[in-house]
């Protein structure tokens, strides 16, 4: 039997039997990337909305910076966080290097520009019209801003999911600041790299299949929202 097919069969066995090692890695991946995307959403959606509602010429420089950071290579993000958190670094005293917290910080660096940038674009495309309409109807600043976010919710959801897709699939940053320590900081992508190196293909393929399944579920969710136009109203 070809090794790939053999690997896929073994991988399915691991998934179906809920192999504890596999599940621990999947759970940690979801926890780290989930926390990173929640933080990025809480910071990025208000910031992106704020920038999207500002006049384009006033935010030109910051827009360029955000768009550049959207393509930040994970290893560069990992290197920066490593230098910050290493013993000699300014935040070394916190002792966060090689912990899930360090991995979350690194992933926030990758997801935050994506969530902010895509939210800004979404809000900029229709936000001004929506904001003006809200104001003509007597909305104060707060309600008008909330209305803009609500009206851009499908695109903002897309921004969040894109950010999650980026961090859950990246390997460089979490490898550098997490250290790929078994049972502590090993996540799906770093485990795939390690198991492939060891020739343990079925485990690596199992993780790869779970990553793909996750991507499929996320995209199905997005597709459902886009088709339905988001939540239904009374």
């Amino acid at each position: 039997m070809p090794p790939l097919l053999e690997g896929i069969i073994q991988a399915f066995k691991l998934i179906i039997t809920l192999d504890p090692d596999l599940m621990r890695i999947v759970l940690l991946s979801l926890q780290v990337s989930g926390a990173a995307i929640i933080i990025s959403t809480l910071l990025g959606v208000p910031l992106g909305s704020f920038l999207g509602l500002k006049e384009e010429r006033k935010t030109r420089l910051i827009s360029k910076i955000i768009f550049t950071l959207m393509g930040l290579p994970p290893v560069v993000a990992g290197l920066l966080i490593y230098l910050l958190l290493s013993r000699q670094g300014p935040l070394g005293v916190l002792g966060l290097l090689y912990t899930p917290t360090a991995m979350i910080i690194a992933q926030v660096c990758l997801a935050l520009p994506i969530v902010t940038g895509l939210t800004m674009v979404a809000v900029r495309s229709t936000g001004r019209e929506v904001e003006e309409t809200a104001r003509t109807l007597g909305a104060g600043r707060g309600l008008a801003a909330w209305t803009v976010i609500r009206e851009s919710r499908i695109s903002i959801l897309g921004a969040i999911i894109t950010g999650f897709g980026r961090v859950v699939a990246e390997v460089g940053a979490v490898m550098m600041v997490g250290g790929n320590i078994e049972g502590h900081t090993r996540v799906m992508t770093t485990a795939i790299v390690l198991e492939t190196g060891k020739g343990n293909f079925e485990f690596a393929i199992g993780l790869g299949l779970i990553l793909l399944l996750l991507a499929f579920l996320i995209n199905s969710l997005l597709y459902r929202f886009q088709r339905g136009g988001g939540e239904r109203h009374e």
Binding site: T133, L137, G138, A139, H233, E234
Partner: protein
């Protein structure tokens, strides 16, 4: 305090890449329908936006009931809540028709029961009761314009600003919208300022007509007077269809 004029404009200017408005003086009375006519680029929509306080003028002063527009944001919002503007292409929120019409009432903190009553009555009035639960962003142009009007008047504004309220509508919807506009003015004394390209519509609906040309008020007067006997040659050229723009 009783003031002869509801709105007074003095030395108002607005410039984008060129000067779009320059109005030394304009006074409007309460309870009337004003039609603003003029060629494209005359500054009609900009004037409505400035009156609604969503676009600041470069210079000049606007007074409502003799009071200047306040600097304080709470007082400004309070003034803004006395009026509303319906855009030529209204933006309806991606929610139900009912929720759209209720928006301004919720923003003002009306009680749920009163909101339900007012929204129901208005939807009936604009012939949209059956569509109350439909997604507003799936409506046709005429339906959307009717919902936008209902949404704008739900909170009984003192001043209703309409930017081309019937542009691109079919004759049946134009007739319905015009009836509603007249009814709103007649029944609640709402002051209405309506920008229109359609001079026949201005003649049908407006008590007074303002002819705006290159950012300036060329002529203003009683509707019949202005149409039958315009004082300015440019007004005459416009209403006779001889003005190329």
């Amino acid at each position: 305090m009783s003031n002869k004029y509801f709105i007074e404009i003095e030395n108002l200017t607005k410039r984008y890449t060129r000067e779009v408005l320059n109005i030394p003086r304009l006074s409007l009375e309460r309870g009337k329908i004003y039609g603003i006519i003029g060629p494209s680029g005359a500054g009609k929509s900009t004037l409505l936006r400035i009156l609604n306080l969503i676009t600041p003028p470069d210079s000049g002063e606007i007074r409502f009931d003799g009071q200047p527009v306040p600097e304080n944001s709470a007082a400004r919002l309070s003034l803004q809540r006395r009026m509303t503007l319906v855009f030529q292409k209204p933006v309806l929120f991606k929610t139900s028709v009912r929720e759209n019409v209720a928006y301004g009432l919720k923003a003002r903190g009306f009680k749920q029961k009163e909101i339900a009553g007012r929204v129901g009555a208005l939807l009936e009035q604009v012939g949209m009761r059956e569509m109350a639960e439909r997604r507003a962003d799936t409506l046709s142009g005429g339906e959307a314009q009717r919902v936008a009007l209902a949404r704008a008047v739900a909170f009984n504004p003192e001043l209703l600003l309409l930017d081309e309220p019937t542009a691109n509508l079919d004759p049946a919807n134009v007739e319905l919208m015009e009836k509603l506009i007249v009814q709103l003015n007649r029944d609640s004394g709402m002051t209405i300022i309506m920008v229109t390209h359609n001079i026949f519509q201005a003649r049908r609906l407006a008590h007074q007509v303002i002819f705006l040309y290159q950012g300036s008020v060329v002529e203003m007067g009683e509707t019949e007077q202005l149409f039958d006997n315009p004082a300015d040659s440019r007004t005459r050229a416009f209403i006779e269809g001889r003005m190329i723009y």
